[in-house]
Symmetry: C3
Subunit: 293 residues, 3 copies
C-alpha cells in the first residue's frame, strides 16, 4: 500500500481535533525536537516548532545547511545518528526522495518526514485532510479537484492517494506537461476511485466540493510564451468562484504567487489561511503520537 494507513490517518485527525480544542499544553514537557531542514521551508518549520511548543516541549535545529557539518562533507546518516543523541524526535526536510526513510533506519529516536523530494510530505497531507474534514465533515461522496503542477508538486500526489481510500471522485486539473504521472492515476483508479483529467478549472468547478490549488513554477516551462499561455488558466478569481458551489472549499498549501487572487481572500469559501493554521494541531498530533510510542 502507498501512503499512510487509513486507521493511522483517522487517529491523527481525531487527536488533532482534540488538540485544537486545547488542554494538552504540557504533554511533551522536557522533550526536545530536532528540526533538520536540509531544504528551507519556513512555514513547515514554524508550524512544527509551534506545535512542539504548544505541547510544552522545546526545539533545536537548522533552517538550511549553510554553516552545518553537512557542508564539511558529513553524510545524512552521520548527521541523523548524532542529532538523535541530542533530541527525543527528529523532523527532517530534505530535497532527496527517501531521505526520511533512510534517516529512520539510523536513528535511535522517531523520525517525522517534513517533505522529501517531490516524493511525499505526509504532515501536509494530514493537515489537508484535517481541513477538508473540519469543513465538510466527511470524505465519502466528495468531488475533489486538484489543480496546478501535479507532476513536480509535493502535495497533490499524496493527497489524491489518501482520498482514494474513501468514496471520492478526483479531478486532476493541469497543463499536459505537468499532469499527474500515469502510475499514480492507475493506483488511484485501481483503488476504486473515479478520476478525471482536465485542462481547465472551468471544466469541473461547478461540480467540485473541494478545489485544491498549487503553484505552477515558471521554470517548469521551456519558454516564457508557453508559461503565459498556460498559467492564465490556473488562476482562481471572483469570476471563477461565482461558478462554484455555495459550500465548495478553496484550498492551497501556500505560499501562493498569483494562483488565487487577493480579492478571493474575503470569500467565506477561501480556507487556505485556516488550512495553514490547521498545521499546528495536526503536527501536535503527529509529534505526540511519535513521542508517546
Amino acid at each position: 500500500m502507498r501512503g499512510m494507513e487509513k486507521k493511522q490517518v483517522e487517529d491523527i485527525l481525531k487527536l488533532a481535533s482534540k488538540f485544537e480544542k486545547g488542554g494538552a499544553s504540557n504533554t511533551l514537557k522536557g522533550k526536545i525536537l530536532a528540526t533538520l531542514f536540509f531544504e528551507p521551508s519556513t512555514r513547515t518549520r514554524f508550524s512544527f516548532e509551534s506545535a512542539m511548543k504548544r505541547l510544552g516541549g522545546t526545539c533545536v535545529g537548522f533552517s538550511s545547511i549553510e554553516g552545518t557539518s553537512v557542508k564539511k562533507g558529513e553524510t545524512l546518516i552521520d548527521t541523523v545518528n548524532i542529532m538523535s543523541g541530542y533530541s527525543d524526535c527528529i523532523v527532517i526536510r530534505h530535497s532527496k526522495e527517501g531521505a526520511a526513510k533512510l534517516a529512520s533506519e539510523h536513528s535511535s529516536v522517531p523520525i517525522v518526514n517534513a517533505g522529501d523530494g517531490s516524493h511525499d510530505h505526509p504532515t501536509q497531507t494530514l493537515l489537508d485532510l484535517y481541513t477538508i474534514k473540519k469543513s465538510l465533515k466527511n470524505f465519502n461522496g466528495l468531488r475533489v479537484g486538484i489543480c496546478g503542477d501535479l507532476r513536480y508538486g509535493r502535495t497533490g500526489r499524496p493527497l489524491s492517494i489518501a482520498l482514494s481510500n474513501y468514496d471520492t471522485e478526483i479531478s486532476f486539473i493541469s497543463p499536459p506537461q505537468l499532469s499527474m504521472d500515469k502510475s499514480t492515476v492507475k493506483y488511484i483508479r485501481d483503488n476504486g476511485t473515479n478520476v478525471k483529467e482536465v485542462l481547465k478549472i472551468e471544466d469541473v468547478i461547478r461540480e467540485l466540493d473541494v478545489l485544491y490549488m498549487t503553484r505552477i513554477q515558471r521554470e517548469r516551462f521551456p519558454t516564457e510564451e508557453e508559461y503565459l499561455k498556460f498559467s492564465g488558466h490556473y488562476i482562481v478569481n471572483k469570476e471563477l468562484m461565482n461558478l462554484a458551489k455555495k459550500n465548495m472549499i478553496l484550498m492551497h498549501p501556500l505560499p501562493r504567487v498569483n494562483e488565487i487572487s487577493v480579492e478571493v481572500d474575503s470569500d467565506p469559501r477561501a480556507k487556505y489561511f485556516e488550512q495553514s493554521r490547521n498545521g499546528v494541531p495536526t503536527r501536535m498530533a503527529v509529534l505526540y503520537t511519535a513521542m508517546k510510542k
Copy 2:
C-alpha cells in the same frame, strides 16, 4: 498626534520598572511570540526573545528573509496572515515604512513594531525614555542633545517627538546634510518645545542633561573627504566628556563604530550598555501589554 500617547508610554515605563525588579517570570507561559525580521537586527531580536523568555513564553521566527517564503514571492500580508495562525503575538522588523501598520491590519494577533524603514522604532524609543527616567527621575526640565545622522537614523526622530510631550529643550547636533527634517522640527516646536540646531557637540555639551549619540554612516556622504571633514566632530572622547555636567548621561542605541571612544566606557556617565540592557524589561512590558489585552 505623532508617536505614542503620553499615557500609554508612562504605563509601559512603570510596568518595565516593575519587571526589572523581578517577579513576573511565568506571566506569558504557553504563549508563542513570532519574530519576523525581514531586515536583520541581532540586538533588537535578542532582547525581544530574552524578554519573551523572561516572561515564560517561547519564540519562533526568522532573522533574515534568506530561505523564507518571502523569497518564493510571498507578500508581507500573506506571511503575516499565516504566522498569526502559529503564534500569539508578532514582532516585525522591516525595511519599508508602514510595514508594521500594514501587518496589523491583516493579523489576528497583536503586532509589535520592531522598526520599519527610517520611520519609527517605538520599543527603542521606550527603552531610551526608560533609561533617561531611571537615571534622571524626571523628563521635565531636561536639556537633551541628539547627535549624528538625524535625517536617516531611526532613533533620533521618535525620541525627540516623545520628549516634546514634556517640558524639555532639545538640541539637534548634526552636519547640515544629515539634519532633522523641517517637518519634525516644526512639529516639536509647535508642541511647545524649544529646539536648537547646532553643528558641533562642543556648542551645547556644557548645558546638556542627556547626550544621545547615533552612528553616522560613511555612505551618507558624497565623498570620502566630506565624510572625514564632518565625522571628527561627532566623536565623544574623554576631553569632550570633561566639558559635560557631572550628572549628564551619555546614550547610544548601539552598535557604535567610533562615535564614542572606548576610553569613555568606564565613565560613570556612560549609560549605553545599561541602556541596551534596559531593552529587556521595556520589551517585557510591551509584550505583556500586547498579549494581556
Copy 3:
C-alpha cells in the same frame, strides 16, 4: 599550568555522570543562555542548546555572523557587553585564539569557551574524557593514540594535555607536516608522561586502549599527490580494527569524512556516536557549574 585544573575536571565528570542518569530537569529554569557562534559549529551549538534545555533553561543566539551587528563593525567586546545584559551565561565560539578569555574580561555573566581558534575547545576535551572514563573506568595506566591533524586540529592538543595529568602513555600519530608542536610534546613529557611519535596507526594500534581519530583536511597539503600519499595511512577500517585490543575504544570528535570507514560503525568498540551524545550531559555539567556559582 596549561588547560583545566585536574580537580575541576573531575568535578565536571562526576556531575555529568549524575546528569546522564537523569533527575535535574528544572535546575536552570528561567535562565537564558546566549550562544554566540562567530564561527559556525552545528554539533557543538546543538549539544549546548540541548544541554541548556534539558536543565529547563532557554537559549538565544546566532549561528554565524551573517546578519549580526558584527557585520556593522561592532567589536567582540561590545557584543559581549551587550549580550551579557540579555542573558545569564554566554557560550562563545570564535575563530580567533583568546576570544573567550577576552570576552570573559568584559562580561557580567559567565563565559563558556566553545572553541577559539586552534587553541582550545575545553568542553570537547571534557566530553572526550567523560567518554574514556565511562568506557574504561580509569585514566591511569591507559595507552592513548591520537591520530590525524595534530598541528591545526582543535581537539588533540588539549586532550593530550589533560591526559598527561594522569599516569598515561600517549602516541601521536600523524604525517610529519601535521605533527604535534614541540612545545606541547615537551610540556606533556615534563608532566611525566611517556610520548611516542609515529607515522602510522599500524605502528601502535596493538597496544592502544584508546584510538582517537581526527580529520585531515585536504587543504593542509601543498599538492593533491602529497595528500593522497598520506591520507591512506589515516583511515580506520575493519582490517585495522582486527589488530586492536578487544576492549580498545575508537573515538572521533566528528564530523568524519573518511577517516573511519562506515563498516566499523557496528563494531562495539566504535564509540564516536556515543561520544557525541556524551556532549549533552557534559555540557549540562559545565553550564550548571557556570550558572550556579
